[in-house]
Symmetry: C2
Subunit: 473 residues, 2 copies
């Protein structure tokens, strides 16, 4: 364990004993109200276990909670402050926070560095207070932190504007607040579990590297995803990335790749996007997987969350639709993987158990009149075949004789007991969505197109190869 | 009008006066039962207006419908025969069909050329009968035809296995039956309207070229999509493609691109996939747009179905999330488009109407505290700007002050009255899905990621340029 200091420093952000909400108000829809309501609701539901201290000089009480007139009055167990007051008041509040001995601060408020010189000066002032007093700061100009397991939720968009995703082993870090909100909302619908979300806005202090170091020691997190537009301290980023990718996969969606994108990024977060080839090199060197878009990022993250790592790049494909098998085979080539050459035993076994019109090979096509049992023969054979490293199972649930519950059980069983990753692809409508959801709950990741399934698998292979390379060094 | 003969020949497939279902049965779930039930249901709902004649030597009646013992007994108005009897009986039935004078036949039955030499011989026999008697054949080994407007539905998967999409101006032709079924099911959920679906299986007669020629004259169809693994008669395909792309866009998803895919295609449909560069050249020469995957195909098709064609490739981007604007800008470069340079008038107008923290430029970022009115200023300015050819509007519905109904109305209004294509991007969860659906019903295509929105627009631009080039020739 190299760096537990960062764990102690960041812990109050994710599981505070007591949170002060500075700028809490009873005016519905206001930022200081939504954040207060988030914590209150989570406390009532028994999820947030800490104390909640609203701070507002003009109020005595909000919905049964005592309101503190100032930071000075706060009880001594306060270990996290969330600031949602206008920017000009923030530096002074930071001084009070320092005096009080609170060591973790989320500054939601915007109107700082992103607006120009004056704002930048305030940021410098805040940062200096933080440094002098050992305070860690997330923000300013951010949506902050969301942790479904502990009930921390500084996202100032109310439930009716944005759904909250369930918990899961994926961490999501975003340089863009609006994008973070959209992604949480999307993840809730897609059934993607997010264990921790951090949107750090102008990141004057806590940055990607700090979070990577924290996540090394966070057992609830199996894979870390990043949306970034630019990195300020390249060396720090690289060192931290190298540390975490030894133990956990990291996937980054870095925008501002092109000249157009870089220009847009510069007016968005002031990021110097840098030459894209440099980022490519850094990601490669540090074992970070680079995502093409957010679907790609979460497709791969979902695979890491649910699958074992493959021992190699030889893919076996099982399908009940020939066309989908062709598309998956194309994708295997496109994403740099290899089609497994099935062993003689596999071919013999399948020919014995299949009707003559089913296609034994790779892809193996159980064809449109398949039942679940025919799939089981194929999966069993592929799992036992030493020439197959990973398995893509395409299930078109539309075929007439396939018992949906049975194939779901078979897939879940083999995904659990096999040492090889098994990823499913299911294209279709309402019924497909229903069974895809059940499959995912049972630990099998499901993708809506053959291309996306194979691309997710390629992420697993790439990371497994990186770990192999490290071993050799 | 060059070729109305094909229209007369294929018309009975899509709007028959009377359909004979050969192999109709009362055994639930059997192919001959599902197809009968499809027509019966559609007739009861007033969608299918023709007569339905079940044919089965062993039955007198199915659910109140008289059953004909043989083809010979069929009434004379029969102009479409759907065959769902075992393969060995099909050639003789074809002879009876020829005697009866029926000129359109869908052979659902499998077990022909795809199984080997004996099946191929039967196919040749069937084809000879067809040629000698002026009969057009779709199939064998296919799911056939689906036309929601006329109630033709030979898809032998019952409702509980596969949803049916609503009607719309997209035609979909598929070489793979299972893929066709999965796509119909998917389209139903995605809200994509399909006007005509044809899955021709082994395509011994009616092929892609015939269908392209038919769709030229089909006013209900605005854009044609194809899933193909291989083309048998290259010259015929090229000539037909050139004819239709003069008047309507065609998008093809051609699999078997790679060595792996080509091998899989060969065991699926026996298609010689051919060198992929040849297909690329043919598509380019004939103005067919090539899709990377089915999401790409329908993303572009949806844009053609709803949008006007752009006059050029200069894209204007409006967003309420900076990060999404950066991603869209990257996509503009990636897909070979250009970022529009806004006119001075536009910049002046927006600066006058925007608060100082909103970002005037391209992308224009109305930022997270936007209301619908701020979007309206931006859209108005972009629509009037001669430097902007097409507009991508990103709406993150999560932002707190945006009235959802109002922004939907504004987008629909400008999409209707502007001469420029307007495509929307919305990332999020349940609420986003809801408003995306409303927007699409009002004529604005909506995409779930910036990349997919810009990629769809790139399809419009590519086809517009092809038409421009034709004009110059």
């Amino acid at each position: 364990m190299e760096n537990p200091k960062i764990v102690e420093e960041l812990k109050p952000f994710f599981e505070p004993k007591a949170v002060a909400i500075i700028g809490a108000t009873n005016k519905k829809g206001k930022v200081g109200n939504v954040i207060f309501e988030n914590f209150k609701r989570n406390k009532e539901q028994g999820i947030f276990k800490g104390n909640i201290y609203p701070v507002n000089p003009k109020l005595d009480e909000i919905e049964g909670y005592r309101v503190y007139k100032s930071v000075k009055e706060l009880p001594d167990d306060t270990d996290l402050a969330v600031i949602a007051i206008p920017a000009p008041f923030v530096p002074n509040t930071m001084r009070e926070i320092a005096e009080k001995g609170i060591k973790a601060v989320v500054i939601i408020t915007g109107g700082f560095g992103e607006l120009g010189e004056e704002g930048k000066k305030m940021e410098e002032e805040i940062l200096q207070i933080a440094k002098e007093n050992g305070i860690r700061v997330i923000g300013p100009n951010c949506v902050g932190v969301y942790v479904p397991d502990t009930g921390v939720d500084t996202v100032f968009l109310p439930d009716e504007k944005m759904d909250r995703p369930k918990s899961g082993p994926i961490a999501f870090v975003s340089q863009s607040g609006a994008f973070a909100a959209a992604m949480l909302d999307w993840a809730a619908l897609a059934g993607i579990g997010i264990g921790k979300m951090v949107s750090y806005g102008n990141k004057i202090d806590v940055d990607d590297a700090d979070l990577m170091d924290y996540f090394i020691y966070d057992d609830s997190i199996k894979v870390v995803t990043f949306y970034i537009e630019g990195v300020k301290d390249g060396r720090k980023f690289i060192e931290a990335a190298k540390r975490i990718t030894k133990v956990k996969p990291v996937i980054a969606l870095k925008s501002g790749r092109t000249e157009y994108g870089a220009k847009a990024a510069s007016s968005h977060t002031g990021s110097l996007a840098g030459t894209d080839v440099i980022y490519d090199a850094v990601f490669k060197q540090t074992g970070i997987l680079r995502a093409e878009d957010f679907e790609h990022m979460f497709d791969v993250a979902k695979a890491f969350a649910k699958c074992k790592l493959p021992k190699g790049d030889r893919v076996g494909i099982i399908t009940d639709g020939g066309g989908a098998g062709v598309m998956a085979s194309d994708a295997v080539a496109k994403f740099g993987l290899r089609m497994a050459e099935l062993s003689e035993e596999t071919i013999k076994y399948l020919k014995e158990h299949f009707p003559p019109h089913a296609v034994v090979g790779n892809p193996t096509d159980v064809v449109g009149d398949t039942d679940a049992q025919r799939y089981k023969y194929a999966i069993e054979a592929f799992v036992n075949d030493p020439n197959v490293d990973a398995i893509i199972v395409i299930v078109l649930f539309q075929v007439p004789l396939l018992d949906e519950d049975e194939i779901v059980e078979i897939l879940a069983e083999y995904a659990k007991k096999s040492e090889k990753p098994i990823l499913a692809v299911a294209m279709g409508g309402k019924k497909t969505e229903k069974y895809a959801k059940i499959l995912e709950e049972k630990g099998v990741p499901v993708y809506p197109t053959p291309e996306r399934g194979v691309r997710a698998l390629a992420g697993l292979v790439q990371y497994a190869k990186y770990l192999e390379k490290l071993k050799g060094e």
